[in-house]
Symmetry: C2
Subunit: 683 residues, 2 copies
Amino acid sequence: MEESKTRVDIILSGGAVLTMDARFSLFDPGAVAVRGDEIVAVGSADEIGTAYKAEEVIDCAGKVVMPGLVNAHAHSPMTLLRALADDLRLDVWLMGYIMPVEREFVRPDFCWLGTQLACAEMIRSGTTCFADMYYFEEAVADAAAQAGMRAVCGQTILKFPAPDALSYDESLSRTRDFILRWQGHPLITPSVAPHAPYTTNPEILQASVDLALEFNIPLQTHVAETTHEIEGLRATTGMSAVPWVEKNRLMETKLITAHCVHVDEADMATLRRHGVGVVHNPTSNLKLSSGFAPVAQMLAMGIDVAIGTDGAASNNDLDMFEELRLAALLAKTVAMDPTVLPARQALEMATIMGARVLGLDQSTGSLEPGKLADIIVVDLRLPHNWPPFRRNEEAIYSQLVYATKGSDVTDVMCNGAWLMREQALLTIGKALIMADARKVARKIDAFLTEREKSVLNKLATIGGLSPRETFEVQATAYLSEQEAQAIVEMITGPDFVIGKSSRRRQYDTYFIFHDQSASRLRYREDEVLVRDALSEEPLPDGYVTEVIYRLTLANQEQEREFDNLVVLSHLHFDARADRSLRFYREYFKPDEERKVYKERRRFHVRYGNTGFTINFDRLQQPEFPGVFVGVSSRTWSAQDAERKAKLIGDMLALFNIGPDKLMRETYLELAAHPEKLEPKGGA
Amino acid sequence: MEESKTRVDIILSGGAVLTMDARFSLFDPGAVAVRGDEIVAVGSADEIGTAYKAEEVIDCAGKVVMPGLVNAHAHSPMTLLRALADDLRLDVWLMGYIMPVEREFVRPDFCWLGTQLACAEMIRSGTTCFADMYYFEEAVADAAAQAGMRAVCGQTILKFPAPDALSYDESLSRTRDFILRWQGHPLITPSVAPHAPYTTNPEILQASVDLALEFNIPLQTHVAETTHEIEGLRATTGMSAVPWVEKNRLMETKLITAHCVHVDEADMATLRRHGVGVVHNPTSNLKLSSGFAPVAQMLAMGIDVAIGTDGAASNNDLDMFEELRLAALLAKTVAMDPTVLPARQALEMATIMGARVLGLDQSTGSLEPGKLADIIVVDLRLPHNWPPFRRNEEAIYSQLVYATKGSDVTDVMCNGAWLMREQALLTIGKALIMADARKVARKIDAFLTEREKSVLNKLATIGGLSPRETFEVQATAYLSEQEAQAIVEMITGPDFVIGKSSRRRQYDTYFIFHDQSASRLRYREDEVLVRDALSEEPLPDGYVTEVIYRLTLANQEQEREFDNLVVLSHLHFDARADRSLRFYREYFKPDEERKVYKERRRFHVRYGNTGFTINFDRLQQPEFPGVFVGVSSRTWSAQDAERKAKLIGDMLALFNIGPDKLMRETYLELAAHPEKLEPKGGA
């Protein structure tokens, strides 16, 4: 009797076998027979026991035996950035934290380590296959293969410099090398991964499509994740994300689109027509406040929707059980119908549908004879998932979707090899990986701590700005309109040479830091109204020639005070600002914020063969009648400063400005303490 | 040296101690000293080590020591209904499954067992305190106290009969008994729990308020969970939920309102003004598609918002780590701002703010000297929560909120007593509880399986209907308008006595079941237009005197056929329908559905001293010109049926209706196969 049985390597027997095949066949008690990397048979425990024998028979009574989960969108190495910075707006998070740290730390060994840590987590929570796009993808692929996991890997291509490439030409060439190196690997499927419509250009997209078609491999990209992306694309291309992707021929490839949050019915029809697979990332979409993807609608239209965790920096874990549960829960309220996305369909998305989206459904995603053995065993005999109802088949799917935790997975097999047995990882040196990861975290902590030490360091790490350090000598007087007018007449007289001049409206926001440095960071919205300071023409509301945004950093203390209240200030940083006030506010988190609004007439003049700026300011906030007249000049040496301070003193005398009219207070101080200055009575 | 130290019972030392006190003090490495049921000291590990000594010193290095979580809304015994029925609309779920099963199974032992199972799950995932409202609450309180958990318990009061009370008078009297029995207990706080505005009445609310004020205890209730509730309340009281609750004086008590999904700004201002605590149940709200609660807005307004799991039948677990994570994630996208509800605040909601909502913040919710020792220890040294960043304090809150799982909790103490050590439950006989729970599940499975066996059984268990079994003899002829008119003239002649008559429009939906019984369940929307079948007056569109909804169950087979195609039918069930077509469709899940729409003139006549109904039907769907004339009578015995069949035969002869004009097909059959009957050419 025993002799007539067919020999296989492993039989998993006695559990409820959830095949996730086309008919959702369920065998309880069932069994799965595995030989080499392949599933040989699936059926009732009795059938399999009668027909097959194996040295290794795993008793799965009380457990579920099911396909390994498919995490269809990840950036695995980002486990090393987990909880580094959370609860921030996307731009502050990305440009303020993630990108500076990536620029500094992302190297092949970082990617290898982060991926091994990701694999440890994914295996422990029942994932056997994932799709990944990051930098140094060869290190990701290598780490995944060493961990024994199946993965679709793509080298991220950006139009900007990336941690692994100075240009997109280099990224494209790295992609070709990557494909040639990994094609045909039993676990790794290479793919092409242009980052997203808004971070690439038609040339990159074109080249990516050509590569994907040349090697007949999947193409992964992010599509329609945020309204910001859609608005930006509309502004630059005149179309939203899905039409842009279609126009650039991406849909001719085996296309995997991550997110698709902001897609309308026409977009969905396009995705459906081209058989494009979508990857839903519910936690990431919620955490970054991207929006609610119309998942139920896409499924109803016949689009294959897989589930992904996205990177650990925006999730913050890679637990597919959590993710598929959230997908099922969220879709119901978004669709205002509790019957949509029932448990069985959620599990389908995370298994066979996920495999289909990745183009791997011939080999994984369900338990069927001839497929590769990607199998997990899940314990249902736990208080949080008890008692079991078996009146109909839906209950077991409900248990798996609504109450099973990643930590209930006991055994994981991929490609016929055990990756975890009785919750012990077999292919990853967990202790070593975790120790190394802690070292990386300490270095990142030190890097950010150093940067956070001063506003200047913090300014430097966000990059994009060209900092400039300057010194300035200046004096300011508070005058009546008549006194100011007299000065205007003087400087247009023979003692002065007038250069460029302008009328401006300046909205200054000061960020004040109460730390030791007592830094003041000024964000100035400088509206140039007309390029002639003498012009008195009335301007229509909102009339502006140009707006200049500037960021200026100073400390509270002045460097030096000369005679006549002429002071020397040190500006640690002065440059055009290329981000919004909101961005800087959320990035720098000032202890205090003050606003100074004024209208300024600015004259560049030469006096004593030296350039000066003379400003005539009317303050609207804090409101002061009269005119503030400031005389200033940039300076580069102590000697030069002394000489210019003396010239300013001469000018003040010429202007008939005595010490009683000179101010000790800055506008910033006036904003906090307007009582320090007695307002000039009328004009 | 050692001698000078103060003796305590237990010191938890070396972990990061997250106090959740008003300043969010964090000691890392820190320690907590416990004596009896009380926290004696919290501080740095060095400080505590210097000042205190204990026999039991627990090494918490690499872990977090924090307050036990507060699950502020639960129906604990419903663990025994977990995954019983999911992905259904609220009414089908509640009236089709949960309530029939509760009517049959909910007894004190059921509640005790379900609560013990709930406690096992809650302790394992770090909850030490919960608020509960269910039936036989004394069994819930007893099970919680035996498990060593802190709980606020309320006996549910409904205006309908409940599993533990035939009337609300009984519920109120049970509540008083319950309060008297449990007041002053070290773990259990009794409360009053009128179910919800729409399931109670002003008398219940009044009596509940009086009880809560008399004993100075919290009052728990559900408020503004669904739009359906709000619309219903508006229709009956003219106001929405929050004003109704205010009007009925509930806000004079220490009020705990679960849900508050559908509240507007005025409602929130009312809640704020009265200091009402809200409990947010994110998973339940999503799963039942109730809506998105404006949590960030409530918090911004200064309302205390706690977090709850709701019952396991609508979640399906009691994992507060999952719940607080979802609260944090969801709020960001609802508010369209990823900076709202940051990790620290989410944890606050689940600890000290939860305690405040329950009125227990003097004793639990934070780790502070003098408070009761409700403490959990959480392991952060796991792949899914690694590496740790310690640059600023937010990272540890991020780790706890975005990546920690319930299964990472290693140790739990409540009221100074260990409930779990190194993941082993100490106060609950888990194996026995689980074995008993499985027995209950098997019985429920059997009960529902029996009911699902036939449509009739399924009809019976939803209750509310008064079923009636009847037999009917009848024959139907297909005639031209002229032939039909001749019959109308005949029955208004001397041979007949005409009783009540009417003109109706009938919309019939047939649910067809392909099982052995081949049942046909007819849902009829019967619009009575006028109470006079002879009336020919044209009626305005939509003119209806009365609408009657009826449910009628028959099998496909006729009982018997007499001469002249007169048939005897068996109607297994015939009663008014008190729920919607949609409800029955989702509850019965028919294999097929067919519609028959017609206009009917109905005459009750006496002929041969016997009552008959004569219907003149014009079919609109399926569309047939001409008139279907049916003669029928209810019958109760074979002898009576035979006699009536003969009388019908006589009438048919009188009406000049030969066998060629009589139909074998029912309207239902015509709906599927209209080709079986040749349409009458014109009127």
